[in-house]
């Protein structure tokens, strides 16, 4: 019996593989025939006409056949053991290497404006990446630490952006006054959202936050007299160097420091500004994790009922998570408004929330380094594959599903408790 089992495991499972592949190909035929094989186009008369694309269809089905065949041949029918394939010694090496990764990344980030001073494109990309790093870290407080799935995070980003834009254009307040105000307003909205969802379970909460995000966007879109509607708000004041504007004029930044005026000064300043804001987010998060509230967040993420029975006030715990996460979203929003000089509801769609969530999820919920790396990889990837723009969201949806299947806690997962009883276990 055992002999037989050993023999059958040695011979390649050709027959089951063939069977699986045929089935998969049949399913693929059903899925793709109408969607891929035929395409509807508006003809010259305006009516829809059908064109055929049977080559693409046949190729996809063949691809599915081959993929399914190889999968069963190599891995069998069970789940693909990806996580277990990494030997523990290698995992330890990676872990120890990642200890140097954070400082290395930080130093690199600090040096970017020096290294790429001439490359405006890279600086702008750096600012974009850092904005998403900051948003990711902000959302990480809510999703990664407190375990509350928030699908409407972009609402707070929008609140921050519109707060700054409106305060600055109507009351001519400076960026440095608006920044805390925008943060407070966003935090206020966070609490406002937090109240109704306190009693909800994880997945209800996700949908409610999604609805909330959409409500904010629709109000911004339709409240013409206040927000400018779909036209948005333009000519938002640009940031100044603590009161010194970036311009080719007397009393400007370059004039005060005796430098030759260059538009790059502002970009470099913006870069360090967002870097500072992002690092602030990171620092606050790291400190909060060591405080009782941070520990309560993580405990709540793991088991809410146990948390309640141990006397943790889950109401305040959830509200603080929402408020603090929202506040950093608001900061990032203000920064976005001052950098762009123009905002409209277009920038605050669900897609944006999904992108930030994907960064947190792929990076590893609760892991600061993972989120930063994920933001860098994703936005860098988007730029690299610009010509495949159409496909990037598709890839990114697949990445979300596959990561959940293989490493549900994210690529760099830090689920290890920040507090140990007795010896620290490895």
């Amino acid at each position: 019996m055992s002999n037989e089992a050993a023999r059958s495991s040695r011979t390649l499972p050709l027959l089951p593989a063939l069977k699986d592949a045929t089935l998969s190909a049949l399913v693929a035929c059903g899925l793709f025939f109408f969607m891929i094989g035929l395409r509807t186009e508006q003809g010259s008369t305006g009516a829809l006409e059908i064109t055929t694309r049977f080559e693409t269809f046949a190729m996809l089905v063949a691809l599915v056949f081959a993929g399914s065949f190889l999968r069963t041949l190599v891995f069998g029918r069970g789940p693909i053991p990806l996580g277990r394939a990494i030997p523990p010694s290698l995992a330890r090496q990676v872990a120890s290497a990642s200890r140097f990764a954070a400082p290395a990344l930080l130093i690199f980030a600090l040096l970017v404006p020096v290294l790429f001073y001439q490359n405006r494109y890279l600086l702008d990309l750096g600012i974009l990446v850092l904005t998403y790093v900051m948003l990711g870290w902000g959302l990480n407080i809510v999703v990664g630490l407190a375990g509350l799935l928030d699908l409407g995070y972009v609402a707070f980003y929008a609140v921050g952006a519109y707060s700054y834009a409106l305060l600055a254009t109507h009351f001519h307040l400076s960026f440095w006054i608006c920044l805390p105000l925008a943060g407070i307003l966003a935090a206020f909205w966070g609490v406002l959202l937090g109240f109704p969802v306190l009693r909800l379970r994880g997945d209800y909460l996700a949908i409610v936050t999604l609805a909330f995000g959409e409500i904010i966007r629709l109000v911004l879109l339709n409240w013409q007299s206040f927000t400018g509607g779909p036209n948005g708000i333009s000519s938002i004041p640009r940031p100044s160097f603590f009161g010194l504007p970036f311009a080719d004029a007397e009393g400007s930044f370059s004039w005060t420091f005796g430098l030759e005026y260059s538009p790059t000064h502002r970009v470099v300043f913006l870069f360090y500004l967002i870097l500072a804001l992002a690092l602030l987010t990171n620092w606050v998060t790291i400190r909060l994790r060591r405080l009782p509230i941070g520990r309560a967040w993580e405990a709540m993420r793991e088991d809410e009922i146990a948390c309640r029975s141990l006397g943790i006030n889950t109401t305040t715990t959830k509200l603080t998570a929402f408020a603090i996460g929202a506040m950093f979203g608001g900061f990032a929003g203000s920064f976005f408004a001052t950098r762009q000089g123009f905002i409209s509801p277009e920038s605050f769609t669900f897609g944006e929330s999904a992108l930030v969530l994907a960064i947190v999820v792929l990076g590893g919920m609760g892991s600061q380094l993972g989120v930063a790396v994920a933001a860098l990889v994703m936005l860098g990837g988007f730029e690299l594959f610009r010509e495949f723009q159409l496909y990037r969201m598709l890839v990114f949806g697949f990445a979300m599903v596959l990561i959940m299947i293989w490493r549900p806690r994210g690529l760099v997962s830090t689920r290890e408790p920040s507090l140990y009883l007795g010896e620290r276990k490895t």
Binding site: V27, L31, I36, Q42, L221, G397
Partner: protein, 304 residues
């Protein structure tokens, strides 16, 4: 009065479509306790398959509208059901024993996949379809305002009622329905008693997707346009309907769908059309605060 009746008719039609989608949410939630975030997009896929199938049938020379519509219904239901099955098999089944946020995130990923897949495959432009079912009956008339009941509205409501009746029968009387109810009560116990839970869950997704595809066809016939993004908003509204009616309850889903359809229509008619989505989304939040179990739902007992 005439205006009111007209809005009532529109609201009931819209509510039927939401109700059909809501059933998919409520069934899946009842059995495995997850929100199938991609369900709205499955509805959209159903609409697209129906559109393409209809055009293809016209192209190969099926000109009789009733026959074409019947074939489209069969094709769309079968193929959308296949999509539902694939989604479950690929994105949800491997995660059944994972931690609680994983299936939801996977579902969001799946939703993004479906939207972009359709966008790539069929283009991002809005697809218009000339009216297929025309004709209407004037019910009331005064001061030059006619209350119209169009044939398509009759078809939508009748189809929904027929599907609801047959589906209720399926859940109440058949072997599959019994398995589904058993899984809803206790998945582990059901599997111990010999219910094939993998098969039951798969079939739940298949049925939900088939019903959503009917909703997709109705949407297509009723509005005459479709694009890859309709699933998102319709999905959230249908989910609201499911929650309002009491998630896990089938009559609740239908009732919630009707209510949401009516509220949305009357809101657009009497207040402002711009804020109709805001009204629907606000209801979701308000219901969850004051009536978390919905109208016909049972209170959820938290088990440790």
């Amino acid at each position: 009065m005439e205006y009111f009746v007209q809005q009532l008719i529109i609201g009931i039609t819209l509510g039927s479509i939401y109700g059909l989608i809501a059933i998919g949410y409520t069934m899946v939630y009842g059995i495995i306790g997850m929100i199938n975030f991609a369900h709205g997009d499955v509805f959209m896929v159903g609409g697209f398959i129906a559109l393409i199938a209809f055009l293809a049938l016209l192209a190969i020379g099926v000109t009789s509208i009733p026959i074409a519509l019947f074939l489209v219904l069969l094709i769309a239901m079968a193929l959308t059901a296949l999509y539902g099955w694939t989604v479950e098999r690929f994105a949800y089944r491997p995660l059944r024993h994972s931690y609680r946020l994983a299936p939801l995130i996977s579902a969001i990923g799946m939703s993004i996949i479906l939207q972009n897949y359709v966008q790539i495959a069929q283009g991002a432009r809005v697809k218009p379809l000339p009216p297929i079912v025309t004709g209407s009956h004037t019910l009331m008339s005064s001061d030059g305002f006619d209350v119209e009941l169009s044939n398509i509205q009759i078809i939508v409501v009748l189809t929904t009622v027929a599907l609801m009746v047959s589906f209720s029968w399926l859940v109440a009387k058949t072997r599959l329905g019994r398995d589904m109810r058993a899984c809803e009560q206790d998945l582990k116990m059901a599997s111990l008693l010999g219910v094939n839970i993998d098969r039951t869950i798969s079939l739940t997704f298949v049925i939900g997707a088939a019903l959503a595809s009917v909703a997709g066809i109705m949407y297509l016939l009723y509005y005459g346009v479709i694009d890859f993004y309709i699933g998102f908003v319709a999905g959230v509204k249908a989910f609201t309907a499911a929650v309002l009616g009491g998630i896990g309850s089938l009559p609740g889903a239908m009732l919630g769908g009707l209510l949401i359809g009516l509220i949305e229509t009357f809101w657009s008619a009497y207040f402002s059309i711009e804020y109709k989505d805001v009204a629907a989304f606000s209801i979701l939040i308000v219901v969850l605060i004051f009536l978390p179990t919905g109208i016909l739902g049972r209170p959820e007992v938290e088990k440790v």
